[in-house]
């Protein structure tokens, strides 16, 4: 299984994502944003960071990077495409996923482990997880406050919400003000997913949590070898 980890100038989680994909059983390759052919890869990850410095608006410039047309083409072919944090923001800007991001409610950067409640398992990100499962995964963002024009229309596409340790979803367990505590979503087909927290940061006991593994494994299990 070959996964492409897309590197924009300013991306900084590419090595971490590649490391975690390796633990989850994939063969990860870093691919520079000027490449235009991803037909060799069985899955694509847009990692976190600050693509193009996040200048103008998060993901707004990355959307125009040469590789993005190819990411769209492969997504339409059904290939798993996952955006983590800044990668999620890029997927929204590229209209592969709905919604947009504000600055966090409290106007500070947030780096800490938070709890997620899995809401839907019909996706490349959550297929190995169980509905209602509570995961502890680090959040790391300043513009993580998800918003969408019509939250009700997101039914069935919300993969995970911010929750407390018992899985209860409310204002108190919402770290950044995201609408309906939304932390992860997918497209209707379920093959394009975005998640604001970082599952790749929770893949080894020595780092404090292995709860991200179920998500990384879901992605790897979703990849099918590219047909030659």
């Amino acid at each position: 299984m070959k996964a492409a980890v897309v590197v924009f100038p300013g991306t900084n989680c590419e090595h971490d994502v590649a490391w975690a994909l390796g633990i989850a059983g994939a063969d990860a390759h870093l691919v520079w944003h000027r490449e235009t052919d991803l037909s060799d890869f069985d899955g694509i990850v847009l990692p976190g960071g600050f693509a193009h410095g996040d200048y103008l608006r998060t993901g707004a410039i990355a959307r125009f990077s040469p590789i993005m047309d190819e990411v769209k083409r492969r997504a339409e072919e059904g290939v798993p495409v996952l955006g983590i944090c800044n990668g999620f923001q890029v997927l929204c800007e590229a209209h592969l996923l709905p919604g947009a991001f504000h600055q966090n409610r409290d106007l500070t950067f947030i780096c800490r482990p938070i709890h997620l409640r899995v809401e839907d398992t019909d996706s490349i990100l959550t297929r190995a997880a169980e509905v209602g499962q509570v995961l502890t995964i680090p959040l790391n963002s300043y513009e993580g406050n998800f918003t969408v024009h019509d939250p009700a229309a997101m039914r069935g596409r919300v993969l995970a919400r911010y929750a407390d340790a018992t899985g209860s979803v409310d204002d108190e367990s919402n770290p950044n003000g995201s609408v309906d505590n939304i932390a992860a979503i997918s497209n209707p087909a379920g093959n394009v997913a975005g998640i604001m927290p970082h599952p790749e940061r929770a893949v080894e006991e020595i780092l404090g949590s292995v709860d991200g593994l179920v998500l990384m494994r879901s992605f790897v299990e979703s990849m099918e070898p590219a047909r030659v």
């Binding site: 100038p9 300013g10 600050f50 950067f109 780096c111 893949v203 780092l207 404090g208």
Partner: protein, 739 residues
């Protein structure tokens, strides 16, 4: 030339911070009057910040040698050998004055600068720390400075993609007009990747990489960093640089690729003194000269003068020295990472630095005269006349305090309280190496693919050093050494940031010399050579000096790294509560208790004990390696009472502690730590302590929902865990919200 700051009619050299004597010396070197461009170069290179002209006579005292030291002081960063072909690079720097004038950019560019110092050596920066000190948070301007500095560190560090693993925060009135912002960076590299700041041989070309040069930060080293502050300091804002972490991120990746491919012979970052430094120092180190063409420098704005180009401290720039046949390959790497590159000079024999602008020679001087001929001042030193009075001025409490109330007030002190408001704004997890995160005694970072862990602690204590700079300086080294030892690491090397007042005052130079003596003595005991440092003088406002505030950064190596290194938050109900170290600890001089409870700073802090220091460190290391006590915490600010309370709060469990009298609970005598001890390891731990002659005191046990202190008398007291937690967690957010 036009002066960028002050339209006063003083001679140009004085406006640039040069004394009349220094101006004459320059004339002597050149055999004629200096040109404007030459004057600009000497003014920044001979500034206190760049030349260490007041500190150099004393810095030679530091022990700097050990078999594992690869690069000692004098290069961009110190480098030590971790074994198996791995090296670590460490460097600390201050950005005090820029951060006072413009907190966000001042702190941000401090981060940018320290990163460049480390990746200049060929290392990938893997972690950042910062040590920041402000006046009281009750003051609105201090709140503005504090939140601005934290936002600047977060904004730059997070975006550049290097984790910030915390550091230190402290609040003290003396920093009100002069906050301290120190930043430290650690990098790792393979031995073959090591690069030095040398210009190489004749014919090498100098390639300026990265940001375009603009008018920001002109004279930062001389006008800002090497002068005292008064009410006009706000007008110095144009001397503060502006940072671009995105440019720096690309520059890091491009430079690491250049090293990987072996394309450069030397590299120098452009920090303080900008091009003046990046041209002269590498040439001088190589015993060469250089021809520099300022017309080739890519600029951000037109019509910059030669002095402006030479003095600009525009950020995110590096100078690479390249053999001519490798030039095209270097430019190709720059294109790939989308950074600008310009060939601005050629290395020559003969040692002359020649600078051209608009086709004319604007400077022609011996390259080494900028660094090596810089003046050295043997400033007078004198023990402060007020010191004896200060030592005699011990705290006099009319009535003993109530232990519970004192503990709650200490937990509410922002210097002791929960710092998560700060470190949760920093990405401290990137790279998946963070084994012990911020909020513990030391950070612990693994090196993937090896058995090695690197532990780092940074420590400062202005009050102790004010009361006794020699004891204070030594104790910082021992404290940092104990902190890394608690994770299982052996102390290895030290960097220091020496933040002091005005060196023209004899008592400040005396504090400086005494501090260096103390640090040196402790470093000799622990075999931790000083591999680099930074001196920041003129930390005074309106004639009032800060407390002498050395900050120690200590690197330790754990190999193998323990599988389950002890943590602050690992105490569980039923574990015994032990204290390791001297049982006769009753010194409150300079303590948080005296400051917070009695509003007093006086007396003389206790002397460190080299034998005990070494013994306690050995016990801590072996405890971690043998996997005995799973939770440990050093005793520092607030004494044993606060150390125990912090373990309880972080572990979510209460404790019952036996004590004799309240002084022992709050004293800050060094070389002590608390441990949570499961019954099945008790005898092993006792044997271990006995082997190193370290006294053990069984103070009580963990359990319940209260922190109880019992001595069988009316001093017995109890604090609810929930209330203690609330006070400790909310101390900083509450004050910031109270604005």
């Amino acid at each position: 030339m036009s002066d960028p700051v002050d339209p006063d009619e003083e001679p140009v050299h004085r406006l640039l911070g040069l004394t009349d004597e220094e101006f004459e010396t320059i004339g002597g070197i050149l055999g004629r009057s200096p040109s404007d461009a030459e004057l600009a170069m000497y003014s920044v290179m001979w500034s206190e910040h760049c030349s260490y002209k007041s500190s150099r006579p004393h810095l030679g005292r530091f022990p700097t040698q050990a078999p594992w030291v690869v690069v000692g002081p004098g290069e961009n960063a110190g480098v030590v050998d971790l074994g198996d072909g791995w090296l670590a690079a460490l460097r600390i720097e201050s950005h005090n004055h820029p951060s006072f004038v413009e907190p966000y950019q001042g702190a941000a560019t401090g981060v940018g600068g320290i990163l460049r110092d480390v990746f200049t050596m060929g290392a990938r920066p893997i972690a950042l720390w910062n040590q920041i000190r402000f006046g009281s948070l009750d003051d609105a301007h201090n709140r503005y400075l504090f939140s601005g500095v934290v936002a600047g560190i977060a904004g730059y560090g997070n975006a550049v993609g290097v984790p910030t693993l915390g550091g230190e925060i402290a609040f003290e009135e003396c920093y009100t007009g002069n906050p301290l912002v120190n930043v430290m960076c650690l990098g790792v590299l393979r031995r073959e990747q090591l690069v030095l700041g040398t210009a190489g041989t004749e014919g090498s070309v100098a390639v300026l990489l990265g940001n375009a040069t603009g008018r920001d930060g002109i004279g930062g080293a001389s006008v800002l960093a090497s002068a005292s502050f008064d009410e006009t300091s706000g007008t110095k804002r144009p001397s503060v640089q502006v940072g671009d972490p995105f440019e720096e991120k690309k520059l890091i990746e491009a430079c690491l690729e250049l090293y990987d491919k072996g394309l450069v012979v030397g590299v120098q970052d452009l920090g303080a003194a900008g091009l003046s430094c990046a041209c002269s120092e590498p040439a001088a180190r190589a015993g060469m000269g250089m021809d520099v063409d300022l017309d080739a420098v890519h600029t951000r704005e037109p019509d910059m003068t030669a002095p402006e180009l030479l003095m600009s401290e525009s950020q995110e720039r590096m100078m690479a020295f390249v053999a001519p046949d490798r030039l095209e390959a270097v430019l190709e790497v720059a294109r790939r990472w989308e950074i600008d590159a310009a060939v601005v000079g050629t290395v020559t024999t003969g040692g002359t630095l020649t600078v051209r602008h608009n086709g004319e020679v604007v400077a022609e001087l011996p390259a080494d005269s900028l660094s090596e001929a810089a003046p050295v001042y043997k400033r007078p030193t004198g023990e402060p006349i007020w010191l004896a009075g200060l030592w005699n001025n011990t705290m006099d409490l009319l009535t003993p305090p109530s232990v519970d109330e004192a503990l709650l007030r200490l937990l509410d002190d922002p210097s002791i309280a929960d710092a998560r408001w700060v470190y949760e704004q920093y990405d401290h997890m990137l790279f998946l190496n963070t084994v012990i995160e911020p909020g513990h005694d030391a950070s612990l970072i693994r090196i993937k693919g090896t058995s090695k862990g690197l532990a780092v602690s940074t420590d400062g204590n202005g009050r102790h050093c004010y009361l006794d700079p020699r004891r204070g300086g030594a104790r910082l080294v021992y404290e940092a050494g104990l902190n890394v030892a608690l994770t299982g690491a052996e102390p290895m090397a030290v960097v220091d940031n020496l933040n002091f007042g005005n060196p023209e005052k004899p008592e400040v130079m005396w504090q400086f010399r005494e501090t260096i003596e103390g640090i040196s003595e402790a470093c000799e005991v622990l075999s931790t050579p000083v591999i680099g440092g930074n001196v920041s003088f003129y930390n005074e406002t309106d004639g009032n000096d800060i407390f002498p505030t050395p900050v120690i950064g200590l690197l330790g190596l754990a190999d193998p790294m323990p599988a389950h290194p002890p943590r602050l938050d690992g105490a569980r109900a039923g574990m015994e509560l032990w204290m390791f170290g001297s049982q006769r600890s009753r010194n409150l001089a300079g303590s948080a208790f005296e400051k917070v409870i009695a509003g007093h700073v006086g007396g003389r802090p206790s002397a460190p004990d080299a034998v005990m220091a070494r013994g306690v460190i050995e016990v801590a290391i072996h405890n971690a390696r043998l996997g005995l006590a799973p939770a440990v915490h050093d005793i520092s600010d607030g004494g044993a009472a606060v150390a125990i309370a912090e373990m309880c709060i972080r572990s979510g469990v209460g404790a019952t502690v036996q004590f004799t009298d309240w002084v022992g609970l709050f004293a800050e005598n060094p070389h002590r730590f608390i441990a949570a001890v499961p019954a099945d390891v008790a005898s092993d731990l006792e044997t271990l302590a006995a082997r190193w002659d370290v006294p053990v005191t069984r103070l009580g046990h963990f359990g319940g929902t209260e922190i109880r202190f019992e001595n069988g008398g009316p001093e017995s007291a109890s604090v609810g865990l929930a209330e203690a937690t609330e006070r400790w967690r909310e101390a900083i957010p509450r004050r910031l919200a109270g604005g």
